[in-house]
Amino acid sequence: MKLDAKIPSGPLELKWDKHRSDLKLIAPANKRKCDVIIVGTGLAGASAAASLGELGYNVKVFCFQDSPRRAHSVAAQGGINAAKNYQNDGDSIYRLFYDTIKGGDFRSREANVFRLAQLSLNIIDQCVAQGVPFARDYGGLLDNRSFGGAQVSRTFYARGQTGQQLLLGAYQSMMRQVAHGRVKLYPRTDMLDLVLINGHAKGIIVRDLITGEISSVAGDAVILATGGYSNVFFLSTNAKGCNVSAIYRAYKKGALFANPCFTQIHPTCIPVSGDYQSKLTLMSESLRNDGRIWVPKKPGDTRHPNDIPEDERDYFLERKYPSYGNLAPRDIASRAAKEVCDEERGVGPGGRGVYLDFSEAIKRLGKRKISERYGNLFEMYERITGENGYEQPMRIYPAPHYTMGGLWVDYNLMSNIPGLFVLGEANFSDHGANRLGASALMQGLADGYFIIPYTIGHYFATAKEPKSSVNNPEFKKAEKDVVNMIKKLLSVKGKRSAVSFHKELGRVMWDNVGMTRSRQSLETALKRVPEIRDEFWQNVIVSGVNETLNQDLENTIRIADFLEFAELLALDALEREESCGGHFRVEYQENGEAKRNDEQFAYVAAWEYQGIGNKPILHKEPLYYEYVQMATRSYKSMTDLL
């Protein structure tokens, strides 16, 4: 298979403009004859549904939540980047592009990332017009802050709820199209398979989560906007329902899965407190601006943090990276925390935590100032842990947070399956090996508002595939496969809950394919995952029946997919014999820092499914850099914190 990214020719800054004029159009009268299926109602899915509905397409939107407004984009706190340069501090489209490419450790496409930076401007305009209440200054203009160590202030925010407000903007626009009859909404519905006819994506198989009914939905194109797969680690900052099933089922139908090993770990989360833990909560990274991170020098020190004298504390980030200390990049800070905990110097229950101490900042600036800056985060911390962060240090630990990998897509956001488009976190396209803070929201909305409306029309205009019907045998066959899979799960009637398998899988993945990876750990994972999967299919117990609301069954189906997908993730990590971005292989480092191998690994690894237990085929899309030089991410100076 030859991977063609379909990057337009011409100068970088003109590629998208030129491409837009080259794309074929659909006449208004014909748009309403095109049925578009969208799965997922986060920023990418909802913005696509709203925009396509406005254009006159017939849109059907599916989500597993009871309301589309609850999709997990809602939880993003920090903000959204845009190269508006409102602050006159030297920002530009080129600079945002360069920061994103470099932050992604040179594993993303130049053309895609440049387009993302260009579209960032339109996103902010659009959202303000929708009534997103961004923070403003006293003159009534939009306020910005710098985020994640960026040198310019280009992050727009709505308190600590930027994701919620942007999602509500997209959701409301979508609901307007629902009112106009252009979009039809199917909440509480899970997508369980993708249907191809004549090689084109022509529909999906869904399960009604209230009645358990399995049915077919036919369409002329399918858009997956189903988010990331951090929950393969069981514990992550993702919502409980986030899953890999939609994109994994598409992968099993022939869509290529790109760079699954590129996962991001966020350093400032509230640590695990026990085995019952169901998820991890992220606290904004901005806390590291004033908090100092430390652990006791002595292993196994159980004294109260306030009783540990200054000279018995190890401010390990300040010690190891004196030039930028506590503001070290996400991956560096995360790995350093893991190291000290591996030395049994971690704090809190279970010993997987480090202190984030504000006592010095409070002395310097006063409690009031700190409370003004981070009050809501201190409250959240106290609500969860019962501890007061002003009086004793907070405890933090890294947690899986975002997945850069996803289904392979070309410049049009279409996968290798014609008619199957993938948007937002579900695709692999823009963040390379590491995503910058405040860029996820930007990508989701760029894909949904400003890219798919152009590229999907071109597909309809050029593919000219006949309409499909749910009576087609391909639909019947896929429905039967889904029904049989569910029957099989229900008939195991073993002794262990599905969640217990998910937890076991999560531990194996976190220990072996988490923050640091080695050949040995990855081989362990590749051995353990199929063992857990085998036991799952022999010993899982699922309560109840299919024909009712059955949350245990919903969850078990998702876990069954994670148990297969985990192997792909580990395999990709094993094959990528370099360290880059969120992927850190202990064998490939220089003085403790990640060592990229551009000669051999400057490619997108796109995997083709070959059956369970068989090794998938690796396809390589080489990455070319015409406009930027592939530099080493340097951690040496204060001006370079990406």
């Binding site: 006449a27 208004p28 009268a29 748009k31 925009s51 006159g56 009871d66 309301s67 407004r69 609850r70 997990h72 809602v74 939880a75 508006k84 305009d125 659009q126 303000v128 017009a129 009534g131 209440p133 403003r136 200054d137 003159g139 009534g140 203009l141 308190r159 709820q161 994701g163 407000q165 509500l168 626009s173 609901m175 009112a179 106009h180 009859g181 909440p187 209230i210 919502a239 409980k240 329902g241 407190s273 026990g274 019952y276 833990q277 909560t281 992220l282 409250e379 609500r383 969860i384 019962g386 508002y449 409306p453 809950s497 217990s500 117990i541 699922v542 309560s543 609301l549 949350q551 245990d552």
Partner: protein
């Protein structure tokens, strides 16, 4: 600690519900309330019994999915806290905890603790948006919005659509939810052109969904996990009154029908 749970069990929308007594053993104070239910459910599943169905997703207090009334109080009654953020340190060994679904005519029970809140989506659909198509928006800074207005709009926009306001109201009124969205959009200059249609259409839809009237008791704002202020109800009433006085047609002309007519024309 060991607890006795009295949990609302209801097979489906048409079945009769009842309170079932379930023992929750070996619960520790660091668990969240929903993690406690997870632990109980895992025992039930392994014992071959039906687990308790309850809704949750983000588990960090922002998605609005979680929804139980705990000892009669939506979200358990702690200031600014959703059920998913409530922790077991507020309970002690031997406690009996009554867990029920939201109770309201407009929120029918689907199963156990899960209710149907789609009425909220239909209210938004009736006017909870600004009619602006994608593309063509002018520069974001072209209309200044005073900080005060932006902040107040954000206070209202913070609503997570959980429905606690309805569940706590003796009238089952959705006024706080509707007022929050009306105020958010009506306050901003971008939302002004549709101000009157919006408030009338949303209020009409709210009434059609079977929510009760508001008698200014304020229990809604008391239990709201995002602390949305009661003053927004006053603002909505004012907007509604003004809109009625202006006497415009109740429903706004359906813009799409114009577009649909256009697209009937044979252009290809």
């Amino acid at each position: 600690m060991n607890l006795t749970l009295k949990v609302w069990r209801q097979k489906d929308a048409s079945s009769q519900g009842y309170l079932e007594t379930i023992e929750a053993k070996d619960i520790n104070q660091y668990m969240s309330f929903l993690e406690m239910l997870d632990v109980v459910n895992e025992h039930l599943i392994v014992e071959g019994k039906e687990p308790i169905s309850f809704e949750s997703d983000c588990r960090e207090g922002i998605c609005g999915a979680c929804s139980c009334a705990i000892n009669g109080k939506p979200h358990g009654g702690h200031k600014g806290t959703t059920t998913c953020q409530l922790h077991m340190r507020y309970f002690k060994d031997g406690d009996t905890i009554v867990i029920e679904p939201w109770r309201s005519r407009a929120f029918p029970v689907i199963k156990d603790l899960i209710v149907d809140r789609s009425a909220f989506d239909r209210i938004i659909q009736a006017g909870g948006y600004i009619s602006v198509n994608t593309g063509g928006a002018h520069d974001a800074n072209s209309i200044p919005v005073s900080k005060e207005i932006a902040e107040t709009a954000m206070d209202a926009a913070a609503c997570i659509g959980c429905g606690a306001c309805v569940a706590s109201c003796k009238n089952g009124s959705a006024m706080l939810f509707v007022a929050a969205k009306v105020s958010h959009l009506n306050l901003l200059p971008q939302g002004k052109p549709e101000k009157d249609y919006r408030v009338k259409n949303m209020v009409t839809q709210m009434d059609e969904e079977g929510f009760g009237n508001c008698t200014n008791i304020g229990s809604c704002a008391e239990v709201c996990p995002k602390e949305v202020d009661l003053k927004f109800i006053a603002k909505m009433n004012r907007d509604y009154g003004l809109a009625i006085l202006k006497g415009e047609s109740r429903h706004k002309p359906d813009t799409i029908s114009i577009q649909a007519e256009l697209s009937e024309l044979p252009i290809d």
